[in-house]
Amino acid sequence: MTEVNYALLKKGGFMRQRQKDNFALRLKIIAGRVRADQLPKLAEVAEKYGKGYVHLTTRQGVEIPFIQLKDIDAVKDELAKVGLTPGVCGPRVRTVIACQGDILCPYGLVNVEEIGIKADQRYYGKELPHKFKFAFSGCINSCAKPQENDFGSIGVVEPGWDGANCSQCHLCEGVCSSQAITFDSMERLQYDPAKCNLCGDCIRVCPTDCWKAKQVGHTVFVGGRIGRHPELGRELVVMVDDERLFALMDKTLDFYIKYGNRGERFGSTINRLGWDKFKSEVL
């Protein structure tokens, strides 16, 4: 029997199991979307080559456990027929995750699925000092947990108020979870931008459309991770457009390649070199 190159298999999404010659195949899934026409093939492969089930990972991934070493090529070929390819493990850019943002979520401010697909095209599998995870959320509710990832963003909106039609109903004050909206003793509305978290609740609730979106964009977090030494990502910049968001991804990865030590997570690289150093190089 030929010698098994485990490193190569792992890079190609096949993860060695504790059972000899058994592998869990990690598939490449982008932004959590699996098409209906791909599902029967997944089921078929899991039945025929695995143990009749798939495992859903915590990061929108799909894995087929108990694939035998001898079947690896056949499994790859079968899945390729519906456009499913093996994912990656190891020190490189991992599955890009995203919530469904403004495609369907009432809170969604931006299309983060699109951002995720583009980020995947640009960076997926890129070799780095350690694993690197992207996560994009459509609003501050942060369902895709961007702060737990090496690079993440949330959709944000800057609200603007025109009181011409305001009925002093206080609904916006009532929904604002940051106390950024108050009424003074003269019943005049006061908006404090310093307290505003850019969630857009006031815009959605106002019955007379006094609150409107002045600017929509992304707030960026970097250096987050869970694992053995959990740390939440730090806010790098507030309200950037798509173009700037991608420029920041480029620069962040360049910084990591330039300064990161082998086996060092990105957050640790920033901690070692200092937040100011990182900021001065990417902003």
């Binding site: 009432p106 009925s167 109903c169 206080h170 609904l171 009532g174 929904v175 609740d201 959605r204 609730v205 019955p207």
Partner: protein
């Protein structure tokens, strides 16, 4: 005018009940709903607006809840 007191009712049932009550009405008729502050007030008015109805009056009640008058579209 019908009044629906939804204090204590959780999301999304408060909205579902509002929606059902509005379905009973003719266009232009008014429904009053009373909602707790917090999540209900974040969700129900927005959903009512999304369905095309008009919120014509809102009053904050002494217990912190909100009374909404909704005109059916």
């Amino acid at each position: 005018m019908d009044t629906l007191d939804l204090r204590g009712e959780v999301c999304p049932y408060n909205f579902v009940k509002t929606k059902l009550a509005l379905e009973e009405l003719e266009t232009g008729q008014i429904l009053e709903v009373i909602l707790d502050a917090g999540e209900p007030i974040q969700n129900v008015p927005r959903s009512v607006k999304d369905d095309g109805h008009k919120i014509i009056e809102v009053k904050k009640l002494p217990d912190g809840a909100f009374s909404l008058k909704i005109e059916k579209s």
